[in-house]
């Protein structure tokens, strides 16, 4: 860490450690509780069982929910990253009168409470036949991911030296080709983070899905939300542990995907 070993620094590291424990605690104890033989999640554990994991497969809503959630998250990510990247490019590379207005407007979806957006979307969807459909879910979720994509990709475009784009065009590449072969590869880390945000936003979405999913065709979070309100046994801990496992794999893949150069850039910000 730092070269300093005096007491304010030591206190600061200690504090950071405590915050780390606080951030990890609920996730760790979900994992512990998934092996809890007691139906009511009582501590301390009196043994270990895997029957809650078996139970996960007994709940059909979890299995169908996982598939629906994955399909919707992929769809929503595709829509959000496409529209968001184009918009971010327009916002950073062109000067136009309404630019600040458009920039604020694109952040609007996160300024509307998700529960309000979900309720409003339900009223719209039952009128236009999108209620309970995968398309309806994708369109709703993509809207929530869009502001994150615009923010992250805009930041990425601002740090990327435009001289490369100009060089490509001076050498005869047309704007579309320049965008695809120069800009996109250069902002790849921003696109990855933006896509990750959009995916997670959709995959974990509760408030909007609550209104626009049909009973028995729920997304995974809604199935879990209903389960938590009806039963309190550690089945939820078991499926949560599986999801945490997915997250760990996701983080490991992300860390290993960081190219040496991007890794260095992250580290450099700390020097």
């Amino acid at each position: 860490m730092s070269d300093r070993r005096d007491w304010p620094t030591v206190i600061l590291w200690g504090f950071l450690g405590l915050v780390g424990v606080y951030m990890l605690a609920p996730l760790l104890f979900v994992i512990v509780d998934s092996f809890n033989p007691s139906t009511y999640g009582i501590f301390p554990l009196t043994g270990a069982t895997v029957r809650w994991y078996a139970n996960v497969f007994q709940v059909p809503e979890f299995r169908s929910g996982l598939w629906i959630s994955l399909i919707v998250a992929f769809g929503a990510t595709t829509v959000a990253i496409t529209l968001g990247t184009l918009a971010a490019y327009g916002l950073t590379r062109y000067r136009f009168r309404e630019r600040e207005l458009v920039r604020s407007f694109l952040l609007l979806p996160i300024m509307v409470p998700a529960i309000v957006f979900g309720a409003a979307l339900f009223l719209l969807y039952i009128r236009i036949g999108l209620y309970g459909t995968i398309t309806g879910l994708i369109l709703g979720h993509a809207l929530l991911g869009l502001p994150f994509v615009v923010s992250v990709v805009t930041a990425s475009l601002l740090t990327f030296a435009r001289e490369y784009e100009e060089a490509a065009m001076d050498l005869g590449a047309n704007p579309v080709r320049t965008f695809l072969t120069v800009t996109i590869p250069a902002i790849r880390p921003g696109l990855t983070v933006g896509a990750l945000f959009a995916f997670v936003t959709s995959f974990d979405q509760v408030e909007v899905s609550l209104f626009i999913t049909r009973p028995r065709y729920n997304t995974l979070p809604i199935a879990m939300f209903n389960y938590e309100q009806n039963y309190q046994d550690p089945t939820l801990a078991a499926i949560s542990t599986v999801l945490i496992g997915f997250t760990v794999i996701l983080v490991l893949v992300a860390v290993s995907l960081l190219r040496t150069q991007e890794y260095r850039r992250l580290i450099e910000r700390h020097q």
């Binding site: 950073t92 300024m111 509307v112 998700a114 309000v116 957006f117 009223l123 805009t154 974990d204 979070p221």
Partner: protein, 303 residues
């Protein structure tokens, strides 16, 4: 709020031959149209519902302001709003008090392994569902959960402490959910600060505390302010955490909106939705007016 203000001069290219309004519309248009097409009609229908009549079992399209009347006349809703603002303010204050030193510590880390570890620790909970995290807190804080077991083992308490299904549990879990959103804007401002400024302060005879108070703190204030604002908005709009950890004893507008819709009382839910949005935007706008001067000063100094 999330976007860093771009440096206008750097962001604009003026001489490319293919620059035209059509290109801008083609790039920005789809996203704008998409938001407009979905958000505008949906919110409009909800808005219209606020002036409809509720029979007790169904909504009738008869113009009436009874839902507004009920919302403003019944002191219950005033109490809910007070409770919600208190929850959001306490949560935001805790997030800032914990988040600022956290961001400061992370910004000071030099060894690459620890940089990565700190980022994973603070930001990876964002990748797990709020439902999973809420469930984790229930396990830890329940009557017969981990904390009460530990307290009993240590003979600190005689009976179980009620930490969950009340405002305490909601606050503990909400701070956990929102802390990454507080840390991130502060961290990115701290990492952009020129280390030469602090060195200059040291050369001019300032000790570390003085250098922090007179250089780092004022320069990082805009980041802190943006972080606090974002945290407050997210706390006011939170639904899952108050629902799962409040046990029905913590009432906030997002919960009331859902309950009223379950009872098919769309007019009242619509009024509560309008109240929630007006409340959050009103508080954000007035705090912006209040803090405009200090932000301008800080940004002037850093620029």
């Amino acid at each position: 709020m999330i976007v860093e203000t771009p440096h206008a001069a750097h962001a604009v290219r003026s001489h490319e031959p293919w620059r035209s309004r059509a290109v801008v519309v083609g790039l920005v248009g789809p996203a704008v149209v998409y938001i407009l097409a979905l958000l505008a009609p949906a919110l409009a229908i909800l808005l219209v519902n606020s002036v409809y009549h509720f029979t007790g079992t169904a909504v009738q399209p008869i113009l009436t302001f009874e839902a507004y009347h009920r919302f403003f006349a019944d002191p219950y809703y005033g109490n809910v709003i007070t409770q919600e603002i208190r929850l959001a303010v306490v949560t935001t204050a805790l997030c800032v008090v914990i988040g600022y030193p956290t961001a400061y510590a992370i910004a000071k880390i030099r060894r690459p392994v620890w940089v990565i570890t700190a980022y994973i620790l603070i930001f990876s909970p964002l990748l797990t569902s709020t439902i999973v995290r809420a469930y984790g807190w229930v396990i830890i804080l329940a009557r017969r959960g981990l904390v009460n077991w530990l307290l009993a083992q240590l003979h600190v308490t005689t009976g179980p402490v009620l930490l969950v299904y009340n405002i305490t549990g909601v606050t503990i879990a909400l701070v956990h959910v929102l802390l990454p959103f507080t840390v991130f804007p502060i961290l990115s401002v701290l990492l952009r600060l020129d280390p030469a400024l602090r060195e200059a302060a040291a050369d001019l005879g300032a000790n570390r505390l003085q250098a922090f108070l007179r250089v780092t703190w004022p320069l990082s204030f805009p980041g802190l302010y943006a972080a606090a604002q974002l945290t407050f908005v997210l706390a006011m709009n939170a639904y899952v955490t108050p629902q799962l950890l409040g046990g029905g004893r913590v009432q906030v507008l997002p919960l009331l909106i859902y309950q009223n819709i379950s009872d098919l009382n769309w007019p009242l839910a619509a009024v509560e939705a309008i109240a929630l949005i007006a409340l959050v935007w009103g508080i954000i706008l007035s705090s912006n007016l209040l803090f405009r001067r200090s932000i301008a000063i800080a940004e002037g100094r850093s620029g």
